[in-house]
Amino acid sequence: MQRSCTVVLKRGPARSSAGLLFSIFLLALLLLDCRPATALPAFARKYGMPCSSCHEAWPKLSPFGQQFKDNGYQMGNDRDAPIFQQAAYWPVTFRITPIWHRESTNKAQVDNSTFTGSTEAKVTTHGFDLSGLDFHTGGTLAKNFSFYVLPSSDPTASFHFESVWARMDNLAGSTWLNIKMGKFELDNLLSEKRILTLTSISGVYTNYHFQPVGEGYKFGIGDNQLGFEWMGHSKDDRTRISASLLSSNDGQVNLPTNRGYNGYFAASRAFEVGSLGLQRVGGFAYLGEAPTYFQFTNGGPGAGISGTGIGNKGFQRYGLIGMWYIKKFDITTIFFHSSDSPWLGTNTPATPGATLPLGAQSPKWNGGLFESHYNFNPQLILINRYELVRMSQQAFGSAAATPYPSNLGNADVLTFGFRYYPFISSRAGFAYHGEYATIWQKGVSPVTATDLTTSSLLFGFDFAF
């Protein structure tokens, strides 16, 4: 189900690239729904607990569910190992969502009336559809050995491995020593894989995937990554800290780009505030690099041989997060700051002796996310989210031959939704899902490079068993 969830916002001066952008956008609409969210009735069946124990509203975890996950999918009652289950028990869950959705964009690239060129027009489509399909298998191999395997498909049943990892938990009897290797979601406190919204726009967090206009490399902090993670937490899970060493291939298998490594660090601390609930604050940093050209090509320039990417240049993503609870109401706030090397920002190969284009500089941007929920009860949750991204420095500054407008690529995303769970059990999950989302982007329409507005409306029956 997880595909390229990257929100690549490219400028439209070159019509070919603008067309490509719009094609990608249309493809995204068709594929729809990037979330392989993890809500596992398989765990509920194993432990005989309702979904609402581990999930505030599935797939979003509650603090109890987060502790269960951090503890290696273990309750810690010496009944976690498979030997205590009936031999026939197999921890498998599937999830899929039949939907009706409406997608609309105000400036789609279309042929002009004489078929001699392109122009822009409002395009709207709607109908019944399907999301992709996730097969989750996860749990314990033995006490303190956990695993997760998630083959995930798009709506056409084309599968890939979204997650595959094994973890040694509580090494030396310490909750501070947990080692994981494989392909996994970064230790993001606001998990994109547990996102509560499903539309093509809000099925991902825009800030987790934003890249400035004109860049050629691909990275999203919301993408599952390949690597090695150390994670530690206090016994009550109030304090959490992790560090990861990752291949700089953005989670893609077969080493498609280079031989570099990235690092990701996250830490948070929760504290109790009377009857309000558990509040949590934290921060994260991703320090990465990406190649600017390939060492070897085969078939001409640009046809790089996988894994030979060189001319690596750096990029950084930083963030501060707060998760605030006021009884049934909660709001998550995140501040993002990001920057890329000017080589990556201008998509310039850093070959020996190469120089940057005139006026090239590091693209920098800031972002904000405000996601609030109101949990009427375990069966009904209202969702609202507002995200914004603001460029603070463009890759092509004022000294460039063609400087970028200062607001090029700026984005605002607004989402409203609800999920109603008609039953809560330990066997299966079902939700009526309704959602509306819209995104405004500056200067990225495919032909005229003006502002682009896109919206998505979705109703679905989201179920897992």
Binding site: G48, Q67, N77, R79, A81, A142, F145, E272, G274, P378
Partner: protein, 296 residues
């Protein structure tokens, strides 16, 4: 001095009380449960209204919507979930047959029950756990009609000696603990297969060799408390009337030596003697790691 009659009486009371309490919940209860209860744990005051929301999120799947232990998962859970209507609680600091303190229930929620489906709820805030305790008390009229018992005193632990371990071993024989728990403390005594709990479900005595975590805690004080309070709703009686405090501590020291796979000062001291080393080595089972976390 061992008093078998008193032990039998305690066993009878332990098994009969829950049944009587359940019967009391029938046609003409002596008192009605209160819908509004509070709990008091240290500086915390829990409120049943807030606890209700938490109960119907986290607990009802096992303990049931009415708190009588008949949640949708109850048929698949062993041992069966606690029946809050009967208000018989295993882990107390109060004498057998009495209601527990709020702090006992709070500690149970925080700790969970090892070897059962009841997990630790330490991930909830202290206030939330206090609220849940208050709500649990709304299920039974006992919380209206009765007050919790007075906590049993726990005297300071005497110095650990080889003699205390040996004396504890003698008490283990005299009190006939072995009949249920087995001579090696593996929960396989001759009576083990016949035991049932207050739900008339088979129940296995604690296997000391498997873990150093009993249902009601893992410290020496917890073990001491279990002797003295008993585990209501199970065949484990209270020995408060038949065992002197110093004898109870000796028994605690001895029981630690049965946990041959869990390091403890008692085990180390016992292993340092020729007699103890021979016994421990004979009990240890090597090279059979099952990956379950429970020692063979």
């Amino acid at each position: 001095m061992l008093n078998i009659k008193k032990i039998c009486l305690n066993v009878a009371v332990t098994l009969i009380l829950p049944v009587a309490a359940m019967a009391q919940g029938g046609d003409q209860p002596a008192a009605k449960p209160s819908k509004h209860m509070e709990s008091h744990i240290g500086n915390l005051t829990g409120h049943s209204e807030a606890g209700a929301q938490l109960y119907y999120r986290y607990c009802w799947g096992c303990h049931g919507a009415r708190g009588n232990g008949d949640g949708e998962n109850a048929p698949y859970v062993t041992p069966q979930p606690r029946n809050f209507v009967a208000a018989t609680f295993k882990c107390r600091s109060t004498p057998t047959g009495t209601l527990p303190l709020d702090s006992d229930l709070f500690n149970t929620l925080t700790r969970g029950f090892n070897f059962t489906n009841m997990p630790s709820w330490a991930a909830l805030t202290a206030q939330q756990r206090a609220d849940l305790v208050a709500f649990i008390k709304t299920f039974s009229a006992r919380w209206v009609a009765e007050k919790p018992g007075d906590p049993i005193p726990i005297p300071p632990e005497p110095k650990l000696t080889v003699e205390s371990i040996k004396h504890g071993g003698e008490l283990f024989q005299k009190l006939e603990c072995w009949k249920c728990h087995g001579q090696e403390g593996r929960g396989d005594g001759p009576s083990a297969s016949t035991l049932t709990d207050s739900n008339d479900q088979p129940i296995r005595p604690f296997n000391f060799a498997s873990s150093n975590r009993s249902k009601c805690g893992r410290t020496n004080q917890d073990l001491y408390r279990i002797f003295m309070t008993g585990v209501d709703g199970t065949p484990m009686p209270s020995f408060a009337d038949v065992v002197k405090p110093e004898d109870a501590w000796d028994l605690v020291h001895y029981l630690r030596t049965l946990q041959v796979n869990n390091a403890s000062p008692e085990l180390a001291l016992w292993a340092g003697t020729k007699e103890g080393a021979a016994i421990i080595n004979a009990k240890k089972v090597e090279n059979t790691y099952t990956g379950s976390g429970v020692n063979p």
